[in-house]
């Protein structure tokens, strides 16, 4: 019996102290939803499914992509939710207390214009509301079972979508990292008291990648790109030339392209059903795979 007890005890001790999971490693992106937004970028006036208020809409319509050439914006446009919204994968690693072995922080690597994100796991509080805001924000995390749940504050103002729909520096991000085998789904719940009327949900799938990713991207070095000091490229109200782009290409009514919380819910389909005109064929950004090259003629002997 003693032998049984020893075996059982060893088995019991082999179980993790808490129900966690290992997230460290390289994760390849699976940009199968919002493929265009997470690839080349969205259309200039595509606010569909965004729970934005009138102020956000007005600011979005005044936005010119030339603002990205301003020194101030070249390296600082993207808050931490760009992890899900952007095209890239992620490298995750743990920072361990060398004495206790406890995880002090989980880090998500930078990637070009996305900053390094540190998820503090040691129970420290968020800083004062007057503390500086950083590109990576300030993030704390806890395990809920095998799900890592994080909360981010102190972000910088930037873009909620990569077409100038704004987020304020009051934005908070609640993220759930849910792992199933080699699949990791990240759900982000983005709230912004300045520009959103209810939270925005973004999710993305990643798959474990045996090929190691770099934890850093190429550094962003701001430089003169032709926008003179003091000039802010923009459109005055009523002059955004792209406002009917989605209507022209996809037949989507203008009111839907301008977003708002109601566009997120099934009932909205009734509202636009009679206004929607489906074009006969996709004309751009269709993403059909390239046809295989024709067989080459054998080289003459």
């Amino acid at each position: 019996m003693f032998r049984h007890l020893v075996v059982v005890s060893i088995l019991a001790c082999a179980a993790p102290a808490f129900a966690q999971t290992e997230l460290a490693g390289s994760w390849a992106p699976r940009n199968h939803e919002d493929g265009l937004e997470r690839g080349g970028g969205p259309y200039a006036v595509d606010y569909t499914g965004l729970p934005i208020n009138d102020e956000a809409r007005a600011k979005g319509l005044s936005y010119s992509a030339d603002q990205l050439s301003m020194i101030e914006h070249q390296c600082g446009q993207w808050p931490p939710f760009y992890l899900v919204e952007g095209p890239f994968g992620m490298k995750i690693w743990n920072e361990i207390d060398p004495v206790t072995g406890n995880t002090i922080a989980i880090k998500i690597g930078a990637w070009e214009d996305k900053a390094l994100q540190t998820i503090w796991m040691d129970g420290r509080p968020h800083p004062s509301k007057n503390a500086p805001h950083e590109r990576g924000g300030f993030t704390t995390g806890e395990w809920q079972g095998t799900t890592l749940v994080t909360y981010t504050t102190h972000v910088k103002a930037g873009s909620l979508r990569r077409n100038g729909v704004p987020n304020s520096d009051q934005t908070t991000i609640e993220a759930h990292f849910v792992r199933h085998g080699d699949l990791l789904t990240v759900l982000e719940i983005i709230d912004d008291p300045v520009y959103l009327t209810e939270p925005e949900l973004l999710s993305k799938g990643f798959q474990a990648d045996p090929n190691p990713m770099s934890p850093v991207g190429p550094p962003c070095v701001a430089g003169y790109e032709g926008v003179p000091d003091g000039k802010v490229p923009h459109y005055l109200p009523g002059t955004n030339p792209s406002i009917d782009e989605l209507t022209t290409i996809y037949g989507i009514p203008r009111e839907a392209t301008l977003g708002g919380a109601e566009t997120m819910y099934p009932e909205y389909r009734k509202k636009i059903k009679d206004k929607f005109v489906r074009p006969e064929k996709c004309t751009q950004n269709c993403a059909a795979p390239a046809a295989p090259a024709p067989p080459t003629r054998p080289a003459s002997r």
């Binding site: 493929g35 566009t263 795979p289």
Partner: protein, 243 residues
């Protein structure tokens, strides 16, 4: 002695006696849920244009099929539910109603297209003869339990996910514009509950569609729903091939 060892094992490992899937459910998925369409909007809220494959890792064979998409012909042939099959239905905007049919069976009804999915926890022997295919296929369910672990205690919250594997599908469309999946497609789904800081309960369904004929790699999307206190907005509607 054996009984003693088992009892000790159960105590140490925290394993309760065998229960039915309903009784052992680590999460409660029952109730009404509403789609939140904040992603893939123009592929879900309106009918996408013919030949728009954005985001879907299709094969050349799939392109050929999708370029022949004819919703009027589908309707005439009684195939207007092709875009409401299991690999697509969770992406169709609408409401879900999830209930236990019995101790072994979870039922998911979707008002969009008036579809019903049956998640069976009972392991069944494979039927002989050709499979009976349907839009919703055959779904085998299991709880993907997250162990409480040493020190978790008997009162530790139970956590886990629902894993559903679906096969025996009739060929259908991943999106309403005719992007196909074949009858050899296999759908794996994980149903996870998320409780937000604001107090909402969200359902996140991660779907993986594998199809050797029409997909170059697994098609992976995650779809969110918010729990409703009641049936408000529940409105069963028939399938439509055009809207």
């Amino acid at each position: 002695m054996k009984a003693f060892a088992v009892a000790i094992s159960a105590l140490l490992l925290g394993q309760p006696p065998a229960q039915t899937p309903k009784a052992s459910a680590p999460i409660d998925l029952t109730g009404y849920w509403v789609s939140i369409v904040s992603e893939d909007w123009r592929y879900r809220m309106v009918t996408p244009t013919k030949g728009d494959f954005q985001g879907v890792p299709v094969t050349q064979d799939a392109v050929k099929v999708a370029n022949e998409w004819n919703p009027d012909a589908d309707t005439a042939a009684g195939n207007q539910c092709r875009s409401y099959g299991a690999p697509a239905i969770m992406r169709v905007p609408g409401r879900l109603h999830i209930t236990w049919d019995d101790e072994q069976t979870l039922k998911l009804e979707a008002d969009a297209g008036t579809q019903t999915r049956v998640f069976n926890f009972e392991k069944r022997k494979a039927a002989s003869g050709p499979p009976s295919r349907s839009w919703q296929g055959d779904s085998a369910a299991e709880w993907d339990m997250q162990g409480g672990g040493r020190g978790a205690g008997a009162n530790a919250p139970r956590r886990g996910s629902l894993k559903v594997t679906t096969t025996n599908l009739k060929s259908g469309y991943l999106r309403k514009n005719g992007i196909p999946y074949s009858e050899d497609a296999k759908l794996t789904e994980y149903f996870d509950l998320v409780r937000t800081r604001a107090g909402d309960t969200l359902l996140m369904v991660t779907s993986i569609v594998e199809d050797p004929k029409y997909l170059r790699q697994p098609f992976i999307v995650s779809t969110q729903f918010r729990k409703q206190p009641d049936a408000k907005g529940w409105e069963p509607t028939p399938c439509s091939a055009t809207w």
